[in-house]
Structures are given as C-alpha cells and as structure tokens.
C-alpha cells in the first residue's frame, strides 16, 4: 500500500531530491499532501485525480496520504504532479516497476493526462546526476535543457500513458541525445549591430573601452539621442559566453521560467532593461520563495537602467554590494540564497529634468535648483562604481541621413577580445578578471605611468579638480585603453583620453 519514488524540487538556484511517498488506507476517500507544500503543490491533487481518470486508470476511493520528504523544506510548483500520479498508480498496483529508484520524475499534469513543461529542469538534471540516478523523466519541452547533462539518460515524455508504458516496458523511448557543440554554437545576431548606429563615434569608442575593461558606464544625453539603442547593442561586442557561463545563465533563466519553448538555452549574453518603477526586491531578488532578481538575470550580460535617476533610491543603493561582489546573498528566516550577479551596468540619464542641458539644438529650461536636485538622486558611492561617463549628443540631420562607414560589431568585438585576453593573462595570479575590478593595490601594481603621463595626470588633477576617486577611475580606464592599444605601459595619450571619460561633477552627475 506504500509507494516511493524520487522527484526534484527547487531551492534557490539549485535542486534537491524530494522523495514522494504515497500511502493508501481504507477510510473515507480523501487526499492529503504533507511536507510543506505551497498552493500549487496542494492543488496538484485535483490535477492528479483528473489526469489519472482521463488516462483511463482507476483512481482509488481510499484515503491517500502523500508525503514529500524532506519534510522541513518548502516545496513549490506543479513539478510534483507526475511523481504523485505515478505513486498513486504504483500504490494501487496498476503499475509495477522493477527498479524505481533508478528514475527521477518531474512534470506538471494537465487534466487530460498530458505532461507540461516545468521550471528549473536544468538544475533538476544536475541534481539527478549528483544523486546517482540513471534516468530523468521530463516533459518533452524541457528535454533539451536537461540533456545538457550528458551523464544521465533524459527521457522526454508527453503524457501519463506514455510514461506508464515506458516504465512497464511496453514501449521504448530513446534517451535524448543531443549534439552539444552544435547547440552551443551561437547564431550570429543579425537583427542588431553597432553598424545601425550612425555617428556617435565618441560614445562607441567609450563603450568599446567599457566592454574591454568591464567598466560600468553612464550615458547622459537629451531624449531621443540614441542612448537605449547604443546600450542594446553592447552584448554584441562582448566576447561569446563559455560553456560554463551558458550553463549558469540557462540555469537562472530556467528557474525563473523565462526560457521560451523554442530557445532551450541562453546562448546570447542577456540584456535586461527593467522599468524604473521596479522595487528593490525585483532588482536584487527575493520574495517568499526567493527568486533571482534582474541583476541575476543580467548575470554575464548587461543590466541597462534607463533613466537611472527615476529609479527608487532603495533599489539603486541595494545595487552597491552585488556590483562589488558579483553575487548577492538573500537571507530569509528559513535559509539564505546565493544568486550570481556579475553584470555590466549601463545607466542612462538625462542631464537635467527637461533633458536639454548641453544640447546644441534646444535650450534647457530647468532652474539651478531643479538641476542640482536631479543630480543628487544618484549617490556618490554608486557613482563611484561607474568608471566611464559619456555624453550622447543628439545627432544632426546630416549625421542621421548621411551614410558614414560605421564599424560592425564583429570588428569591435575582435579588438575587445584581444584586450580581454591581455587582462586574463595579467590577472592570472589575482582573483579578478578585468581592469574594472582592480583595487588600489592592483592599481599601484599594474598601472605604471611613464614620466610624461605622470606629469600630465598631476596637471589634470590640479587644474580640473579631480578627486581621489576620480584619480583611480582615470587610472583604471587608461589601463584598459593601453590594453586596447597593446601597450605594456600607460602612455600620455592613454591618460589624456581617459580624462575625457571622467566624471565632470559640476556638469552632470
């Protein structure tokens, strides 16, 4: 009267093994699920009852107790429908399987017995491998994602009857075998390219430097200048993701249920641009069953905060620690969760509330007070983490219509990759990967200036009133410029170009 089989549940970004026990007793017909189920798990009884009946099996008129072990971890989502249904069939002897412990089951049941996709299939597959199981029975729609783990046999299934037939050896379903290399191959994106942006040479150059050194960027400029257009194209010049990176990102997207049915893997670097009304939880992650926030969804990619002064102060300030650590730890009373958050921040802002300060075509109508208030919305510590500040002017008619030879993303990416390779080699003994993450120790070790450059920087500090913070930012950026220039030392022209991207505190932000 007792059936036992294994399934998998999601905890943060990882999955854990859940033992599903189904026990039948002679009593008034009823069904109970214990083991901290959430609403979706609890409602699974109705789906299981209908699914079993529609698949032309008999649903027992007995008291059914379902236990999901370990009993102290919360279970969520409809992925336990399939194991519960199978448990009922096993307990009523409508199905007999020899080695049930070799299998792990996940899947949501539809009322007619079909099996639908679940969230977090990749993490479940990893869990399946770690638990030493041989087979993972997953909904067909999740199969490719799960099959990325080559050590297990992934059986894609479409409905309950099929599973029963497979388990009782009536039919044979071949484990899904995919050519991982071909899947990982990035389909070049032809829909967006830096070639589409005419003019804006300085901004493009700044973005190239930013990507090469992993620097965060703030773009200021009047509305309609093309800030969002430029930001959207940044992922196209970042080097391709490695296998591990793809797996990390896919895992996050899988758990958030953001993989669409035709893209089983996240092959392109993510680009997230949340609306400015987002809450701090939405940005950082959290909630009752903690879910990754936008910063984790932007992991290994770009987080674009359009109109950054409009974001809530709490949300912005909560960015500081994840930006520093590349991960965010969310502690709730039951447990704490770690989500990765290594993203490149691209912020955009208008220079003033009306947006026309510094514009050559329109006159700014804001008062001094309004402008200084607007600027105050971004705190110093946050700006401290943004190395490159660049102004995006509005294009003139000639620039818009004229066909100047714009560089394509691929050309830019080649240079970026070379500069990145230099950095990886340089930091092989340090715990960092790119120039933006250098601390003061690294800066004094790796940013060696020649005599002329040193003199120029001293002069700039004196004349332009550059602060201590600004000094380090200039050094870091000039290191990246030198890397792009394949230069060992930082030369005078690297410094002087880096000064261009400094924070001109008095002018904008």
């Amino acid at each position: 009267m007792l059936a036992k089989l294994d399934s998998s549940g999601i905890f943060g970004l990882d999955a854990f093994k859940v033992e599903v026990e189904v026990f039948l007793t002679k009593s008034l017909p009823s069904m109970h699920i214990v083991g901290l189920p959430d609403k979706a798990v609890n409602e699974s009884k109705e789906r299981v009852r209908a699914g079993i009946s529609s698949s032309e099996f008999h649903f027992p008129l007995e008291r059914i107790t379902v236990n999901l072990a370990p009993a102290d971890l919360k279970k969520e989502g409809p992925a336990f429908d399939l194991p519960i249904a199978l448990g009922v069939l096993l307990a009523t002897k409508q199905l007999t399987v020899d080695n049930i412990e070799k299998y792990m089951f996940v899947g949501e049941l539809s009322l007619n017995g079909d099996i639908k996709r679940v969230k977090g299939a990749l993490s479940m597959a990893i869990n399946c491998k770690n638990e030493g199981k041989e087979y993972l029975i997953v909904p067909k729609e999740n199969a490719i994602e799960a099959a990325m783990i080559s050590e297990i046999k992934v059986i894609p299934v479409e409905n309950l009857n099929q599973v029963v037939d497979f388990l009782s050896n009536k039919i044979d379903i071949k484990p899904l075998n995919i050519d991982r290399k071909s899947l990982l191959k990035r389909i070049p994106r032809d829909d967006i390219d830096f070639r589409d942006v005419s003019g804006q040479f300085q901004v493009k150059r700044a973005l190239e430097i930013a990507v090469a050194g992993g620097h965060n960027v703030i773009l200021t400029g009047p509305p309609g200048a093309g800030k969002s257009m430029l930001a959207k194209r940044i992922p196209t010049i970042i080097s391709e993701m490695t296998f591990d990176e793809i797996m990390e990102v896919t895992k996050i997207y899988s758990i958030s249920g953001l993989l669409s049915s035709n893209s089983h893997l996240m092959k392109n670097r993510p680009f997230r641009s949340p609306h400015h009304t987002i809450t701090d939880i939405g940005l950082i992650g959290g909630g009752n069953y903690p879910k990754p926030g936008e910063i984790s969804l932007a992991h290994n990619g770009v987080l674009f905060l359009d109109e950054i002064p409009q974001f809530g102060r709490n949300a912005l300030e909560s960015l500081r620690q994840p930006m520093e650590d590349g991960k965010v730890i969310i502690s709730r009373n039951k447990a704490s969760f770690k989500f990765p958050s290594k993203f490149m921040l691209i912020a955009s802002a208008n220079p003033c509330p009306c947006g026309f300060l510094g514009d050559s075509f329109n006159k700014c109508r804001c008062s001094h007070y309004q402008i200084s208030n607007y600027k105050k919305r971004l705190s110093g510590p946050l700006l401290d983490r943004i190395d490159i500040h660049v102004f995006v002017p509005r294009l003139s008619k000639e620039d818009l219509t004229g066909d100047s030879d714009n560089e394509s993303s691929i050309d830019i990416r080649k240079r970026v990759q070379k500069a990145r390779a230099v950095q990886i080699k340089r930091f092989s003994k340090d715990a960092i990967s790119c120039n933006a993450y250098m601390n003061t120790k690294h800066v004094s070790k790796y940013c060696k200036l020649d005599e002329d450059a040193k003199r120029l920087l001293e002069m700039a500090i004196e004349k332009m009133g550059i602060s201590g913070r600004g000094y380090y930012r200039i050094l870091k950026v000039s290191r990246t410029i030198a890397d792009l220039d394949k230069s060992e030392d930082i030369k005078i022209n690297h410094i002087s170009e880096a000064i261009q991207y400094r924070v001109s505190d008095k002018k904008y932000f």
Partner: protein
C-alpha cells in the same frame, strides 16, 4: 542692553519706522520733511491706530516673539523685535548706516529717495569713492562669466569699486574678479545680511565680509523674496556711476537694473553677445536702444571724467604684473610652460594639435564633429583636446563640446 539702546537710539527709531507696514523711503522722507525729527515721526506713526508691521517671516529670530501670530501689531512686540535685531547685529558685527551719515555713498544720497537705513558688513562701503556695477544673467555662459571677471578685475585694479548683486553667474564672476584688487567690491543683497543666498556662494560671502562689503536695506532675517530684488537692483544702479550689463536674457532682472539706471541718470553699458545666444537677446536689444557697446575697459572709462589717479601707470603696472605672473608660473612649472601670451602657446603646439585648434571656433562643437572635420579618430581627438584643455587655450562645455577660449587683452 539699555546702554545699547541709548547708543542706537536714532537707528532704532529709523528701524521701527521703516518696519511699519506700507512705509516706503519716499513716505519716510516726506514725513522727515514735515516733522524734521525722528521721534516726532515715530510718535505720529504710533498714534495711528491701525499700526501693523512688516517683516513677518523672520525665521532666525531667537526671541520668537511671534510664533503664534504671523504679524505683530503692538508697541511691545516692535520693541522686542528691535532689541533682538540690535543684539544680532552686534553679534555678527554688522553695522548700520543712516541716510544722514557722512559716509553714506554720495551718489546714492543724491538719487531719488534712497533707503533711509543700510545694514552692512565689511569696510568698503564707508570709504567708497567711485563705483561701477556689473550685472547680468544668473545662467551665464563661459563667455559671459569670463567677460564679467576680466572687466571687474581691470576696473578694480584701477581703483574703481565693483558693485553687483551676489547672484549666481555674472554677478558672482564680477565679485570674484574684483575682490582682490584695490578697488574692491560691494555685494548688495535682496535679503537680510545673515542669510547667504545663493548658498553655494558661502565662501565668497565670507571673503567679501573681509575684503569688500555686503550691504542690504532689509533687516536681518528677511528671506530672499521675489519682490525684494527689484528694490535691490535700484540700489545697485543708484550707488554707481554706471551699469555694465554682461549677458541678459529677454526678461532678465539685469534689464530692470538698466531701467533704474536710466531713471536715475546713470550710464548704461552693454557687452554684446552672439545673436544665436538666448542670453544675449537682452543686451543686444539694449545696444539697439542706445546703450553703449563695451569692447574693453576703455569704452567704460572714456564716458566718465573719473578721477583715476593711477590710470597712467595702469599699463605699466599691468606689464609688470604679467611678468611677475609668468615668473610665478614658471616656478611651479609642471612640464608645460604656461604663458599669458596665447600666440606663443599656439606656435608651440604640435602639428596635430595645431590642426585641431584651428578647427575650433567660438561656437562650441561636439567632439564627433571636430573629429570628422580633422579626419582623425575620436580616440586621438579626445587625447588632443584634453591636452589643449590642460594648456588652457580651449574651453570644455557641457555635453563634450569644445570651443576656443575667450582670451582677449581688454
């Protein structure tokens, strides 16, 4: 306290009279002519049953005499108010100058109904000989600020005191230009002397108390209210021989000053600006209407028979000074020779730098545009522009735009 009241008897009477609601300098002088005695005026005013006083928003008042009521209307309260004013003036070591003071600025005294009472700090006001005011837009351009600075600096070095309104932009530039020269500078406030408005001029405020003067016709604690500023502007033009307007938009407050100047029979000067610039609409119109166009200090000086004792050795002193400056600069030389002579600087530029420099003009251009004209890539242009900026021969404007520097030997 009683001692103080005895010492300040006259001042207190004027303060009280001027605090009466509806009292203006004109009425004050009429009453003064009628009675010839301050006590009599006060008694007359006091007998009036509907006595009400102004200056109700005095937030800094330590005695808090009217925290319940917004205005105070009996004799008892006005006495407390005056006492607190006197104590506070003493504390800040601010002083009072009455209309019949010997040191009261001559030109102002001759003007139509000048303020009967002036509050001031700093000694410049008491030994004022000649003054010229420089006023203009608060949202000034670099061109405007540098013009105001240089005009003020040179006039002041000739011993002329520069008067202005302490506002942002042109006014501040004029004060800064004049403060260290012999002429000095006077700032006229549209609020009480205890309030520094605008706040970002805090350092300048302290400096002016030491080196120049700050003056107001409003008692302590008067907030910078809109209506105060036209009155302040009248004082600015009244105290000076002439008014120089550097940049004024279509409806700038500087134009009000120019109007007062005409009313008071003062000379009006205007510094012309680019016709594209909104900040120049007002000044250019003034020139159309007959204001004198200013291209150098000489244009201002030639209008007056000003007694400028050292005008002859002005040029000599200037030559000497620039030499001294060069010597000073070369002492702390940091690799690039700084020199006041822009031509020699340009001569010393490298080829590419020269090319970029000559592409630039007075009108700010964006870096992409410059790059296109020079046929160089932006990375290189950015590098060159930074060098030129550090050499102090070009200006960096908001929005990564660059122009040549307005260096002119006025």
């Amino acid at each position: 306290m009683n001692n103080l009241i005895k010492i300040y008897e006259k001042e207190i009477l004027v303060m009280k009279i001027m605090a009466v609601k509806g009292m203006t300098p004109r009425k004050f002088y009429l009453l003064y002519k009628e009675f010839g005695n301050l006590t009599k005026i006060w008694n007359f005013v006091r007998k009036n049953n509907q006595l009400e006083f102004k200056f109700k928003n005095d937030q800094n008042n330590e005695l808090n005499i009217h925290n319940t009521k917004n205005s105070f209307s009996d004799k008892y309260n006005i006495d407390i108010w005056v006492k607190s004013q006197i104590i506070r003036l003493k504390k800040m070591s601010a002083k009072i100058m009455l209309f019949d003071d010997v040191n009261y600025p001559t030109l102002l005294k001759e003007s139509y109904s000048p303020p009967p009472i002036l509050y001031y700090m700093g000694e410049k006001l008491t030994n004022l000989s000649q003054a010229i005011s420089i006023v203009g837009s608060r949202r000034a351009t670099k061109y405007g600020k540098s013009t105001a600075y240089q005009l003020a600096n040179q006039l002041s070095s000739l011993g002329i005191t520069i008067v202005s309104g302490f506002a942002r932009g042109i006014d501040s530039a004029a004060h800064i230009g004049a403060k260290d020269e012999i002429g000095g500078t006077i700032a006229i406030f549209g609020n009480g002397l205890d309030i520094c408005y605008p706040k970002e001029n805090k350092d300048l405020y302290k400096e002016l108390i030491g080196k120049g003067s700050i003056v107001s016709e409003f008692p302590l604690g008067t907030p910078p209210e809109r209506l105060n500023f036209p009155r302040r502007n009248r004082l600015i033009s009244g105290i000076s021989y002439g008014v120089v307007i550097v940049e004024a938009g279509e409806r700038s407050g500087a134009l009000i000053t120019a109007n007062f100047a005409l009313e008071q029979g003062r000379e009006v000067f205007a510094v012309p600006g680019a016709i594209f610039n909104e900040n120049s609409i007002g000044v250019n119109r003034l020139i159309q209407d007959g204001a004198k166009l200013v291209t150098s200090v000489d244009d201002i000086l030639e209008e007056f028979g000003l007694e400028i004792k050292n005008i002859k050795d002005y040029k000599e002193r200037k030559r000497r000074k620039s030499k001294e400056e060069i010597r000073k600069e070369t002492k702390k030389e940091t690799g690039y020779k700084k020199s006041l002579n822009i031509d020699s600087l340009i001569k010393n530029l490298k080829n590419e730098e020269k090319k970029v420099y000559f592409i630039l003009d007075d009108f700010p251009q964006h870096i992409d545009e410059i790059a296109k004209k020079c046929n160089l890539d932006v990375a290189r242009i950015g590098d060159i522009l930074t060098l030129l900026e550090l050499k102090d021969i070009i200006n960096h404007h908001s929005g990564n735009r660059y122009s040549t520097k307005f260096i002119k030997d006025i």
